[in-house]
């Protein structure tokens, strides 16, 4: 079994099975006519033996876009796709095979079959949110790096387990919000450059909250593995709105419903709160308190960090990403960015090669979704809560602690 965990980047490729194949093939007379020079590394292309071998899990909608981006890179060799919808995986398989002009791409219904393939270096995951933790942890366990779409977690407990798995196995695990760096540059530059003085707080306006889904039963479409789509979530009858990957959060997509998503609070919150934690430079920590406000029926909330900085949610009279600073010039420091080329995807691939932590390292991503979940729980219970960042539990609030995680439907365990 090829295992790359403790090898250098150079060693990774040296032990790749594909290279061994090419070595054998090169000895034959006919094969050189079948492989164009570009495929062997000429013309700026990367020879297949030196490419990152990748697979995609959850390749409808956002996953299809992620797949297209990775597939378009000449340092990636895409070999497998996985989706619970047959038409989605068939279409993706055809796309990959057309790109390479072969039939090498394999299609899977169960992601675990991809995880045990020794030839795959990295995967990307764009399933609904209730699957993310299981897939990220399984990837790490099987020695694969992973790019996981946002929001990376569905519950508070998942986050710590994902970080632990990444660190345990030394994997590169990147969260999937490109907007954290790309959408809020002006705010980030102002805060990191010192022009906001000493930054005290930032406000994020985002929603809506997730709701329960009680849609009626409809016939399951042919070729759709409904049980696998539900996975660890409670059983429920099929309804197209329950599982639609539409970006709407209006009760017509899985992003609306509590069992699969944190609603807009996590779906867009992963972007906005990610940008906010980056701007006020609290990416490396978690809040220790969430303060629930109810002023004459107007509800809003604030997360307080150990260093005293605040992230408000829907603070009355403040705009999204509005920063509260001081008048004096604050300290200036360089703003971190992506490695490699190609945005957040290129950052991930570069880090797979160099073994550095990506810009959207899983720890930063989890710290962002933790903010989202703390807010969600405070709003659900309508009270302020204190969060023990070490024990990962609420202080003196058993009821809130029940909401730190959910029991997963059999056979799924994390």
């Amino acid at each position: 079994m090829a295992d790359y965990t403790i090898n250098s980047a150079k060693g990774r490729y040296a032990s790749c099975g594909r290279r061994a194949f090419l070595k054998t093939a090169a000895a034959s007379v006919a094969l050189p006519y079948l492989i164009p020079a570009s495929a062997m590394g000429a013309d700026g292309n990367v020879a297949p033996s030196n490419r990152i071998v990748m697979a995609g899990i959850g390749i409808g909608n956002m996953g299809r876009g992620d797949m297209g981006t990775f597939l378009g890179r000449n340092d990636v060799q895409y070999v497998a796709v996985c989706d619970v919808k047959r038409d989605v995986r068939d279409s993706a398989t055809n796309t990959v095979n057309q790109k390479y002009g072969n039939t090498d791409c394999k299609a899977y219904r169960d992601f675990r079959e991809i995880m045990v393939r020794d030839d795959i270096d990295a995967v990307h995951c764009a399933t609904p949110d209730h699957w993310h933790a299981i897939i990220v942890i399984e990837a790490c366990r099987n020695g694969k790096d992973i790019y996981c779409q946002k929001p990376e977690t569905k519950t508070l407990r998942e986050g710590r387990l994902m970080i632990e798995a990444a660190r345990r196995y030394g994997r590169v695990v990147s969260g999937g919000s490109q907007r954290v760096l790309e959408d809020y540059r002006a705010v980030v530059n102002a805060c990191w450059g010192g022009s906001m003085g000493n930054v005290k707080s930032i406000n994020v306006s985002v929603g809506p909250f997730p709701v329960d889904c009680n849609k009626e039963s409809q016939p399951i479409p042919d070729g759709f593995d409904w049980d696998m789509w539900l996975g660890p979530a409670p059983w429920a009858p099929y309804h197209p709105h329950r599982c639609s990957g539409s970006y709407s959060i209006d009760g017509t997509s899985w992003r609306s419903f509590r069992d699969y998503s944190g609603g807009g609070m996590t779906d867009w919150g992963a972007h906005h709160f990610g940008g906010a934690t980056f701007a006020i430079d609290v990416r490396e920590m978690e809040p220790e308190e969430v303060i629930f406000h109810n002023e004459n029926g107007r509800k809003f909330a604030t997360c307080r960090y150990p260093n005293g900085k605040l992230i408000h949610h829907n603070y009355p009279g403040r705009k999204n990403m509005q920063v509260e600073g001081t008048d004096e010039q604050g300290p200036s420091k360089p703003v971190p960015g992506y490695a490699g080329s190609g945005g957040i995807y290129g950052d991930f691939i570069d880090c797979v090669k160099t073994r550095r932590n990506p810009f959207r390292d899983i720890e930063y991503a989890v710290h962002t979704t933790t903010v989202c979940h703390l807010f969600l729980i405070a709003y659900e219970l309508e009270r302020s809560l204190k969060w023990d960042t070490v024990k990962q539990q609420f202080i003196d609030d058993d009821e809130a602690n029940r909401l730190v995680d959910v029991a997963r439907r059999e056979p799924w365990v994390i």
Binding site: M1, D3, Y4, T5, I6, N7, R141, N142, G143, E164, R168, Y169, G170, V211, D212, C213, N214, K215, E216, S217, P234, W235, A236, P237, L381, E382, R383, D398, E399, N401, R402, L403, D405, V406, A407, R408, R409, E410, P411, W412, V413, I414
Partner: protein
């Protein structure tokens, strides 16, 4: 709930907290009436008064107990799967030992086992864990892996021997769940069971067991059982382990020696 009980709930709420006084008992009564015929496709909003009563009765033990009893009674009243689903979600938040028996009764059935665990796994009362442990020998098929997983999440040391019995199970899901749960439980006894099984693990189980031992070592270390953690890490450094496991064990060993 009778109207007399409802009034009592309001009165108690009124003395206990201002928020509790906001319970609309008539609306709550109507929601419980709806629950009797509630099914997939029904308007979820009709049950919102119960959600609001849960928030409003926070800190009011008597009102909470009355509300919980109504939920438990509803569960026993032959309601639909959708209604059972709703009740278990609410008991996840406010359930106490009072709910355990009714929830435990749902554990052996394939349709309700998970949603019962949805509540029981999160109930802090030890009786919830007892109920899941007691149910383990009574369930079949994939329900085993669910209960094993929940007992692992609860780090139930009393389940170690029972769970270890599933490590060699022909049902690979149950076997994997057993390994993961023993890792999560993370006691010296759990480590011992994993180590005892490691040598005879099938090819499918080698990595789950290795991973579970690494997780177990981390739990042991966090709980101050340094020597047991080090023993696990040492055992995982052999040539029979994948490189990533050996590397993880080496890192763990270094962490252990720093403690």
């Amino acid at each position: 709930m009778t109207s007399k009980e409802a009034i009592k709930m309001t009165v108690v709420a009124g003395t206990a907290s201002a928020a509790a006084a906001q319970v609309d008992t008539a609306a709550v009564d109507a929601a419980f009436e709806t629950l009797k015929t509630y099914d997939w496709g029904a308007d979820r909003g009709l049950l919102n008064p119960i959600d609001q009563a849960i928030i409003a009765t926070h800190g009011d033990a008597a009102a909470r107990k009355a509300l919980e009893k109504r939920l438990v009674d509803a569960l026993a009243g032959g309601i639909s799967r959708s209604a059972q689903d709703y009740v278990c979600r609410k008991l996840r938040v406010i359930g106490t030992s009072q709910s355990v028996e009714a929830l435990a009764a749902l554990l052996p059935a394939e349709q309700t086992s998970h949603i019962a665990r949805y509540a029981l796994e999160r109930l802090p009362d030890e009786k919830a864990v007892d109920a899941m442990r007691d149910a383990l020998p009574k369930v079949r098929g994939k329900l085993k892996s669910g209960l094993i997983g929940s007992l692992g999440v609860r780090r139930d040391a009393k389940s170690v021997t029972a769970i270890a019995g599933f490590l060699g199970d022909s049902d690979i899901e149950a076997a994997r769940a057993a390994a993961q749960s023993l890792g999560l439980i993370g006691t010296p006894a759990a480590a011992g069971e994993l180590s005892k099984f490691a040598g005879k693990a099938s090819a499918d189980m080698k990595m789950p067991v290795a991973d579970a031992r690494l997780v177990c070592a981390e739990r042991l270390l966090a709980d101050g059982n340094q020597s047991e953690a080090v023993a696990l890490y040492k055992a995982l450094q052999g040539d029979d382990q994948p490189g990533r496991v050996r590397a993880a064990a080496l890192k763990g060993m270094l962490a252990a020696t720093k403690k």
